[in-house]
Symmetry: C2
Subunit: 338 residues, 2 copies
Amino acid sequence: MAANPVLAHSVRGNWVENRHRGAICVSDATGNIVASTGDVAAEIFPRSAIKSMQALPIFATGANARYGLAGPAIALACASHNGEPAHADLAAAMLAAIDLDESALECGAHPPIDPSARKALFAQGGKPSALHNACSGKHSGMLAVARALGEDPKGYSTRRHPVQQRVKQAVEEVIDHPLTEGKCGTDGCSIPTWAAPIHAFAKGFARMATGEGLSPDTAAAAREIFAAATSHPFLVGGTGSFDTDAMAAFDGRLMLKFGADGIYCGALPEQGIGFALKCDDGSVPAATAMVAALLLEISSPTPDQAKILQTRARQHQRNWAGHEIGYIEATDAARLKL
Amino acid sequence: MAANPVLAHSVRGNWVENRHRGAICVSDATGNIVASTGDVAAEIFPRSAIKSMQALPIFATGANARYGLAGPAIALACASHNGEPAHADLAAAMLAAIDLDESALECGAHPPIDPSARKALFAQGGKPSALHNACSGKHSGMLAVARALGEDPKGYSTRRHPVQQRVKQAVEEVIDHPLTEGKCGTDGCSIPTWAAPIHAFAKGFARMATGEGLSPDTAAAAREIFAAATSHPFLVGGTGSFDTDAMAAFDGRLMLKFGADGIYCGALPEQGIGFALKCDDGSVPAATAMVAALLLEISSPTPDQAKILQTRARQHQRNWAGHEIGYIEATDAARLKL
């Protein structure tokens, strides 16, 4: 099998230092691939890039109405957040609404990703908790699903728990592709992640964005989830997050979510297209350069939107002494045309 | 140009998640390539992997004798250390010997890499200083060269300063290849780094290890530098460092040094061979898996040595909740035979 193309590289001084290969797929809701590069049939773990799909059972089980999970809570369920106070507090409120607290979370504790939040926490003598975990909103949403199903919340993160089986079925419906035990792993936050082709995730995001090919209930839930995420972009990431900044700049015209190990998924609802990309080596900065370059081409950005995308399509790098030493940038191969 | 082979990959659950390509060269001192894979003519930045070469002017200028820089100080000049007390204190002593202090260092400050040292520093209300910078030993050695040359220490890290010109000439001598302004960048610690072919670095390490092809003075200096690094492996890295653990286990039979962005260089002096590798995408864990797998094949390790190499040829990974989620491992393509 041919190697994927180099879609990003880093330059130090006047010489290319690192090369990042990958594959990108842009698809409509019927699965028609409108632009692509690399092996888009490769089956990848989507990781956190499909949290919006994983949030669908919150609606299918009626947990959203039953526990008063409004737009902000749904946005947090789609988030890989920075653990800032707004994120941790909202996760705590979601848990309180289902008579649980952070001890029910099975995602593990880590310090807030946001440096200021981390510093403030330690300065107050605080300890990192599972509420600070980037996935605490998704986990709180999954616990709400467990409650709505009347299932024991304990073990909700494990593969065979009814919550994860509902999540799996929801993802299978929207990506229109089966998920199997033969291609399954455990995510950083302990829930299962299932591999599927890159093109299936691109198609799935187009279906989420348009409702095409989905049941009316699923289509309505997908519309609400995308509306929540794009209306509350800070809750989906936080200070300095590209997902946050890009969605804020596009004001509802862009759904965007990164996943660990070099994944991006998203959609341009007005254009009826979804996209998915994987950086072969798992580099998130390189994947960010790739998706920013892709969006510069396919999203018809305004000058202000383009400015935000350009800061990530070429990311300048400084060393410890503050000298600019080079940059990571997307190559022309990532600049797909529709 | 064909893509380099996949030399390491990561597995999550039962499915490959990330793929890391690269090139490896094993050479004797005449430049005869005894084993290789990938494009070993590619010109790469060697970064910190060639600190032992960059230490040669300490001997050529007589700075070692003049300022009493014994084995430990020479080892620290070859180090990317963890900023533990032994490292920071020795760097301070090296500077004191030339009537300078940490304010003369141009590498920038960062917190100790070693988590315990970092925690202890902050617990004592201390601040990260340039002494904790992983390169403080190399920089202290370079300042000693400036002193021995009678040059102004200020600006010793810049490309045109006599210190860096001496370093450049020393590297050119041992790798037997010119370094040019057309392929030059600034390293993380602010000194210049010059690109050259992977095979030239492999040959250079074989020449350092054997003295073959070098002037008698350079050969003697190279012998002392390798002896210092392999006799004081803790000073070259620190707690948990693979360079440290591997050199300690091989007891003088192995010179090994990583460089940022996925580089390893080293030598097996008894076998008269040097080696160099670059992971295309800059991943250090992947490069570590590659070099560990290489050494398992070419170093004829004892069972104890093999055990240490195996811990890095396959590196198990846990998530925030402590569950084992997979591993990074070298592929068979990295297991070159002599």
